[in-house]
């Protein structure tokens, strides 16, 4: 900052820090309530949920540690929808929202919005809790309907900010509709109570906070906090190299896509002079007759996730820093604004990842030290939805048996358990014992796949092999596994991560390949075999510190042959780096490249 510090700025620095800690504390408290009280594994074990606070003008203020794809954009649109559909808001109201046409990520993410009304009836803030449901009432027992040709085939009930509590009482008409449509309704009811409870906790805390420090102070705080965040973002962009980079990523062919799959084009332009980053997603195909189409929330959040992954992580993520990012979308585009009845069933993952990944790779193209490689694609069977009936009792839930997928960063190897780019590793991986206790399931194996990491100066995560069977019944495994054909690309010369694949193992041990997007029924004497994607590498592999390569070999992540052929590192019999032989190998690489 070049301008002389002012008197008001002093107040900002102190007050901002203290009040920010309060807001984040409230959002964290909401999240804690949700995790501890939910019923389905996807909320309480995997933690697939988010909690945020917005201003009365629907600006995103505090997100605690939410899933990026859930919250960067979308909550603002959802809150606006609430206010527009319900011009009179009252204390005690709560709204159920899962409409992808009105700001929600996808129909599986049931969200509760509660307007925080002060004692004079003025709408001051909105708290929002959003959780991925074990089941949302789709036509098939999965929340990922990759093949659904439209929202009707998808089948979930859609709630565009529908009042589900009035005067703190449930609107039982809505509750009964859900109970008649959603599988395992007791589980849904428990999860609904948990999400509602989290939002109510947020409301209670915000009311106490406002009464304590005064609503006007909070209002001036929010505008100061947004300005501070915008300043931080501007400073970061002003220091970046200028440039416009185009990049693309291809989603595997799925039902309803062209035979060659879906190629997503992104154009990223960094304008240091204007302190602005622009992303253009308009040069992409129209919406398709399947569940891959993005919601507006995901189309906006995916490139922003990639941008924030690519820069100084201490810049706050809120409506203030968002002023320095422009994302251009098109109506009726697969990576734009969907038009009803387009299905957005799997909007948070597949195409969203194919938007975010090339954006962060494009950022890397701007200069060493920026951007990231690509994160592995999802959703493999090992993180799919399992269902069936065991001893007369139905079960349905998403399991998190095995995932990795992390992308290499400029100075850091991949965080192993990222899952996918929009998740950022915020979910938890299941305990095998807990899975086997809760479901009629036997997990034969869960292990990393050697040599499936994207090689690089820093390397991506290896993929995961998982094999599991039902116990005493049949089990349907529903999944939408992108990455069978298109692995995660590396950045700045980094290698591609291993591809995904999936099989049915028959009783005789034979492996039968099964499609990338399917609901597969596994018999009690069979097993589902799932291989998930690795993540891409950053920088050329021959620039990797040989000691780290030796460590990867010792730990079994990388074979000695790959160390020699890809990383150009020679190891002695005891596993130590052979410095002379390595230097010779690497000198030869330079010669080959030059030739």
């Amino acid at each position: 900052m070049s301008q002389p510090p002012s008197e008001t700025k002093r107040i900002d620095g102190i007050r901002l820090a203290v009040l920010t800690a309060r807001f984040e504390g409230i959002a964290r408290k909401m999240a804690n309530t949700l995790q501890r009280t939910g019923r389905s594994g996807i909320l309480t074990i995997a933690r697939d949920f988010s909690c945020v606070i917005l201003t009365a003008k629907h600006d995103l203020l505090a997100t605690a540690e939410s899933l990026p794809i859930h919250v960067l954009r979308g909550p603002d649109i959802m809150a606006r929808t609430m206010a527009e559909n319900h011009p009179v808001l009252r204390r005690g109201d709560a709204f159920l929202h899962n409409s992808p046409y009105h700001g929600c990520t996808h129909p599986a993410d049931h969200s509760i919005l509660i307007p925080v009304m002060d004692d004079d009836g003025v709408h001051r803030f909105t708290v929002l809790a959003k959780g991925h449901q074990a089941d949302a009432g789709n036509s098939l027992p999965t929340t990922y309907m990759g093949a659904a040709k439209d929202v009707y085939a998808e089948g979930a009930l859609i709630f565009p900010a529908v009042r589900i509590q009035q005067n703190y009482q449930h609107v039982m008409d809505i509750v009964r509709m859900c109970q008649l449509r959603i599988r395992v309704p007791e589980q849904w009811w428990g999860d609904y109570l948990a999400i509602l409870g989290a939002a109510r906790i947020g409301e209670r805390e915000m009311l106490a906070f406002g009464r304590e420090v005064g609503w006007d102070l909070l209002e001036s705080y929010t505008s100061e906090w947004f300005d501070y965040s915008e300043r931080r973002m501007s400073d970061v962009i002003r220091a970046m190299p200028a440039g416009r980079v185009t990049a693309s990523a291809t989603h595997d062919p799925f039902p309803g896509t062209p035979p060659e799959g879906v190629t997503i084009n992104v154009a990223v332009e960094v304008k240091p002079d204007a302190a602005l980053i622009e992303v253009d997603l308009r040069d992409n195909p129209d919406s398709m007759p399947n569940g891959l189409n993005l919601s507006e929330a995901c189309a906006l959040s995916a490139p922003m996730t990639a941008i924030f992954n690519s820069i100084d992580h201490t810049v706050p993520k809120n409506a203030g820093s968002f002023r320095r990012i422009k994302v251009h979308l098109r109506d009726g585009c697969i990576a734009g604004r969907p038009v009803h009845p387009t299905s957005c069933s799997v909007a948070t993952t597949n195409i969203a990842d194919r938007v975010a990944n090339p954006v962060q790779r494009a950022m890397a193209d701007l200069g060493d030290g920026y951007g990231m490689a690509e994160t592995g694609a999802v959703i493999p069977p090992s993180t799919g939805v399992i269902s069936g009936t065991h001893n007369g009792t139905p079960f349905v839930n998403e399991v998190y048996i095995g995932y990795s997928g992390g992308a290499a960063a400029p100075t850091t190897d991949a965080w192993l358990t990222i899952m996918h780019v929009g998740n950022a590793g915020m979910c938890y991986e299941d305990s095998i014992e807990v899975d086997e206790l809760r479901h009629p399931l036997l997990v034969h194996a869960r292990r990393l796949v050697q040599d499936s990491e994207g090689a690089g100066r820093t390397r991506g995560a290896p993929g995961v092999f998982a094999e599991f069977s039902p116990v005493g019944c049949e089990m349907t495994v529903a999944y939408v596994s992108d990455g069978n054909l298109n692995g995660a690309k590396g950045a700045r010369g980094g290698g591609e991560g291993g591809k995904s694949s999936q099989f049915r193992r028959h009783a005789d041990g034979m492996l039968e390949p099964v499609p990338g997007c399917a609901e597969v029924v596994i018999g009690p004497d069979q097993a589902m075999v799932s291989v998930s994607c690795g993540g891409g590498g950053y920088g050329v592999p021959s620039a990797r510190d040989p000691a780290r390569v030796a460590h990867d070999v010792r730990e079994g992540w990388v074979s000695a042959a790959r160390a020699r052929d890809v990383y150009r590192v020679a190891l002695a019999a005891d596993g130590a780096v052979d410095a002379a032989a390595t230097a010779a190998l690497r000198a030869a690489t330079v010669t080959e490249t030059a030739a």
Partner: protein, 687 residues
Amino acid sequence: MTLRFAVDTGGTFTDLVVAGADGSRSMHKVATTPSDPIGGVIGSLRAAAEAAGEPFGDYLKRGSMLVHGTTHAINAIVTGNTARTAFLTTLGHPDILVFREGGRMEPFNFTVEYPEPYVPKALTFEVPERVMVDGSVRLPLDEEAVEQILHRLAAGKVQAIAVCLLWSIVNPVHELAVGALIERHLPGVPYTLSHKVNPSIREFRRAASTCMDASLKPIMGTYMRNLEGRLRAEGFEGRVLVVTSQGGVMDAGNAAETPVHLINSGPSMAPVAARAYGGAETTLIVGDTGGTTFDVSVVRRGRIPRTRETWLGQRFRSHMTGMPSVDVRSIGAGGGSIAWVDAGGLLHVGPRSAGAVPGPACYGRGGANPTVTDAALLLGFIDAEFFLGGRMHLDRDAAAASVQRAVAGPLGCSLDDAATAILDLATEHMVQAIFDITVNQGIDPTGAAFVAGGGAAGLNCVAIGRRLGCRTVIVPETGAALSAAGALLSELSAHQQAMFYSNSAAFDRDGVNAVLERLEAQCRQFAAGPGAGALESSVDWVAEARYPDQAWEIEVPLRAPRFASADDVAALAADFHAAHQDVFAVSDPHSAVEAVGWSAEVRCRVASGDPGRLAAAADGRTALPSRRVRFASGWCDAPVHRFETLPDGAEIFGPAMVESGFTSIVLDPGTRAVRDALGSLMIEVTL
């Protein structure tokens, strides 16, 4: 006259509290010697003997018991000084320690490395075997394969072995067989079986505890032998006990056999002391402010809550112990926390600390960064001439220069305002840490009392109390050595637990009762063994229960050690609904309740639970010169009282300072403080 000693070795200071037979206490602090922590233990005892004017050997001979809290185990892990340990796991699951449980903090921060597994994969071996969820054996143990693995371990110079197989908690037959093979083929190599050290579900947590335990056996065995040996050599003839993570104590010899219990040995005693001073009727929030960390714990109407999620450092970025331990949350905030201003003009305090070396700028040891201690000095909260009772002189100019350069300058404010802001922000971080452990679990701080421990606690304990809405802040007279004071009051204890699933809608009374009977037999065995000769012993019974399909259990105390009738089952369900409402502000009273685990904690009292009284200060000074102190209302002249010589019942009104040879307590305007019968300063905070 016999003496009892409690020594708590911290990162900066080794604290000793000595109890005489008449209940009197004396408190001593010496510098910790990181290279030889037992030397610090002996040094603190030597200091006490000197203060008592007795020859060291004679003084030690009077000791009947020494209780030791140590960070040696956690330090060994953090510095990588544990044994070369192998991990034996079920076939197909070699990456349990690599995957951990997923989870991550700071979603956009890609500058932090993914943590290495506690045991490297190079030392991880898959054992062909598989037990199912119901205890049936799907794949019998391949003993030949195990023998081959053991041969490789011998060749690989492995010093300890951890065995964690899936579902060993339901049927341990394979773990026991592997243990027998280790004893046969690698006699003398220490090993740990998961179902013995931590019989709980979730294979990652159990494997983590097992590996930590095995890896600590050699070093903690040596430490305990040396501790006892050196104390004996100096003339100590009493019993040597160590503090466990669960807030109890065990014999040093037994602790060496299950060293995983010692990982959180230090801070677990602060709530025990707080309970003795604050009473069992109210809820107590316990803050222990040291140089680098602020540890928070809670006492809920006499009960000290436990957690299974204990991380050795930051969540997800460090190792989780997987062991039940007193729920103590630590954040990087303390007297040494560094303050700075970022590029956008935002003030930060911590988590970086100046530590003991170089320390705050005012220590004059080369520290250039301003710390909370420097800010406190500038505000007059600390007396440059009477720091630690005058044993150390502080450099006010150095403090002023560092705060001016790093905070006041960049913020464009006065030195005074900068110092106040540093204290305010440190207070806010501590308050948020307290909220994490209280409000988030349904504890309302406004109905609680705040117990302030640790050398730096007095600087902002009133500010914290006010911000929390606590009307009462308690500073015990032994507050500066709160953990050591607690260790003198602790009980010999052992935690017995078992997994057994039962649903309240179809409760298996006989099955549960059989489990409880087994636990009770283990408790009786402990009471007759290590607990023999105790003043009294008791057992606390707990069910780990949840609503159907919930993933996380909460602890519900049992009213009786057996389920005699359906009424007892109904009582458990009712207690669960109430506990769930209490913790999470919601309950589902029409739902069935699932109990999945049962535990019994046997506690044998070896000494009085009375915290005793400190003997008066030797120098007899009752008051110190008044000085300028800056409160929220501005600078004023504040009288300075000497804590040690303040008579019981004495009443002080803020603005004032209360100082001892160990700490400095700030009484803001509007507060009223009274010294109570236990010697504590009871501060009434105006909200």
